[in-house]
Amino acid sequence: MSALELRDITKEHAGSTPVVALRDVTLTVDTGEFVAVTGQSGSGKSTLLAVAGTLERPTAGTVQVAGKATEAMSDAELSGVRCSGLGFVFQQFHLLPTRTVLHNVADGLLYRGTPAAERLDRAAEAVAAVGLDHRSEHRPGELSGGECQRVAIARAIVGEPALLLADEPTGNLDSVTGGEIFALLESLHERGTTILLVTHNDELAQRAPRAVGLRDGRVERDERR
């Protein structure tokens, strides 16, 4: 089964001068894959991730997450897809500054209706999986950028989503730390997590088992190693 199936996706951003961000993009990510999407700024890679994450609806085309067609879903149903099927990692981390690392990670399960005690138990496992057990009770302000991104990754995987979507996770980090984050994603992939990574860092993208290149909203290349 494929974790994600994008078929003939076109996305037009409305406005005084409408911008076509994606044109007829078809992309399938199979369960267990690690796909890196690269492209220049404006190539449409962030829009691709937003559409794949059901954060935006495509102008045309269909999106299936873990075999579920999303085009006819209501906003509430899409929320259900995001909370159970998808995990997100962003460039800006988006951690809540007043909450400890453990609580930030546990919030990844908040909208699943999981009881608080179980959320914390599973959060502790996820924090350990990204190697931050010694930081559980710290707050984001006390962490380095790399550590913050590890917390965000732990929050994204705590619910064991069908697909992990990472939007420029190394964009705010220096190259060494960025490399470490990429290595963490690789190790998660080895343990079975399906990952769709969007990055403008070609060097890192070349390390992924599958690299998809976008240019002007079209898939330019799709290479597997």
């Binding site: 935006e56 509430a76 800006q92 919030d107 909208y111």
Partner: protein, 395 residues
């Protein structure tokens, strides 16, 4: 497997304070408006309740078992009580004390040179020697009429009557011109709260009225102290006892009831302060709405993240609504404490007992909660309408 986004009720409470903890100073400032409004409401209602409580306590101390019996007047036509009325009333079982007064239709002057029109509204009345105890009046100076002085040209002046006549001594050295003869002032009363009509009267004994003034007036007022447990029973038989042949000509009153009613009515001034408090509360609510709107703008990233983590629109809206309500509720609690404190201080300065009705406290906090919830509606709606992708794009 069915994927569904849901939020536990227990977690909504945590969400409501997460955002506030991030900006404690702003939260405190925006709750201040509501706190001031609630404090005003509680203080005004508490102070007026305390003042009323004090009045009622004073009235209760005077006794609520005093009844007055007087002739009824029908559209200007005055009736009179039968002369036997006081004796009949004193035979009612649960009557502890009674005293009659009778208007003698003579006047009192400082001396014989005062023109007769200058009576200053002072009524001259014959009074039983038991009057002082029955109405629980107190003497400002001198003594009240007793069985001896009731026969003599001796007069006891009401508080206002003494002032009007310019009498400030009651040692027998001052005389007043009463019914064309000299009467010695033997006593001056303190104001009588339960029988204010006595304040502007000059009281002489019934024997003196009969022998010296040659007046045989029917009783105009009979004061009755009933047994406190039988006030109602006594009240119901008074008219028929006082005037068996014409009970409809008898008016019965309970002066303490009238005072209580006046204490209740005196609360009218508070409506101005109450509306001031309500306005402060309204402004506080607007302040909270304002702060929440800014919060929604600043926390677009968080809103986007929550939507990405699977929050529904309603979950995001609920979070901001509860945050506003929590803010306002906290302000309301602080205001209630402040208001109660103000009442306590004011009451202790005035030597009153402090009365803060619990209903007022609960009501004020409840109103604050509602104000916050209403103020949070618009920001919550704004937050819930944000598109997740757009919210995430903002820094």
């Amino acid at each position: 497997m069915r994927w569904r986004s849901r939020l536990r009720a227990a977690d909504v409470g945590t969400l409501a304070v997460v955002g506030l903890r991030g900006r404690p100073v702003r939260a405190a400032l925006s709750a201040t408006g509501v706190a001031i409004g609630v404090a005003t409401l509680v203080a005004v209602l508490g102070i007026s309740a305390s003042s009323r409580g004090q009045l009622i306590a004073e009235i209760d101390a005077l006794g609520t078992n005093l009844l007055t019996v007087s002739p009824n007047s029908f559209s200007g036509e005055t009736t009179s009580l039968p002369p036997s009325a006081p004796a009949m009333i004193s035979r009612i079982g649960p009557v502890n004390a009674d005293a009659a007064t009778a208007d003698l239709t003579v006047h009192v002057y400082r001396n014989q040179h005062i023109p007769s029109v200058n009576s200053q509204g002072i009524t001259v009345e014959a009074a039983d020697t038991s009057l002082l105890a029955t109405v629980q009046a107190h003497l400002w100076a001198g003594r009240f009429l007793n069985t001896a002085t009731a026969h003599l040209p001796a007069v006891v002046l009401g508080h206002d009557a003494a002032a009007a006549l310019g009498v400030d001594r009651a040692d027998g050295s001052v005389s007043v011109w009463l019914g064309n003869q000299w009467f010695d002032v033997v006593g001056i009363l303190e104001p009588v709260p339960l029988a204010p009509e006595l304040d502007l009267s000059a009281l002489v004994g019934f024997p003196a009225a009969h022998h010296l003034l040659l007046r045989e007036a029917p009783p105009t007022e009979v004061y009755v102290r009933a047994d406190p447990t039988s006030v109602g029973a006594v009240e119901s038989v008074l008219a028929a006892t006082a005037s068996p042949s014409a009970p409809q000509n008898v008016a019965i009153a309970n002066p303490s009831d009238a005072l209580t009613a006046r204490a209740d009515a005196s609360a009218a001034f508070q409506s101005l302060f109450l509306s001031l408090g309500a306005i402060a509360l309204l402004v506080g609510g607007i302040g909270i709405a304002n702060v929440m709107v800014i919060g929604v703008l600043e926390r677009r990233g968080e809103i986007g993240l929550r939507r990405a983590m699977g929050a529904r629109r309603i979950h995001v809206g609920l979070q901001f609504l509860c945050e506003a309500a929590t803010l306002s509720f906290a302000g309301g609690l602080a205001g209630a404490v402040l208001g109660a404190l103000a009442v306590t201080i004011y009451a202790s300065i005035r030597n009153w007992g402090t009365t803060v009705p619990p209903g007022v406290l609960a009501g004020a906090v409840g109103v604050a909660l509602c104000v916050g919830a209403v103020g949070g509606l618009y920001p919550a709606w704004r937050a819930s309408r944000l598109s997740p992708a757009e919210a995430l794009r903002s820094p």
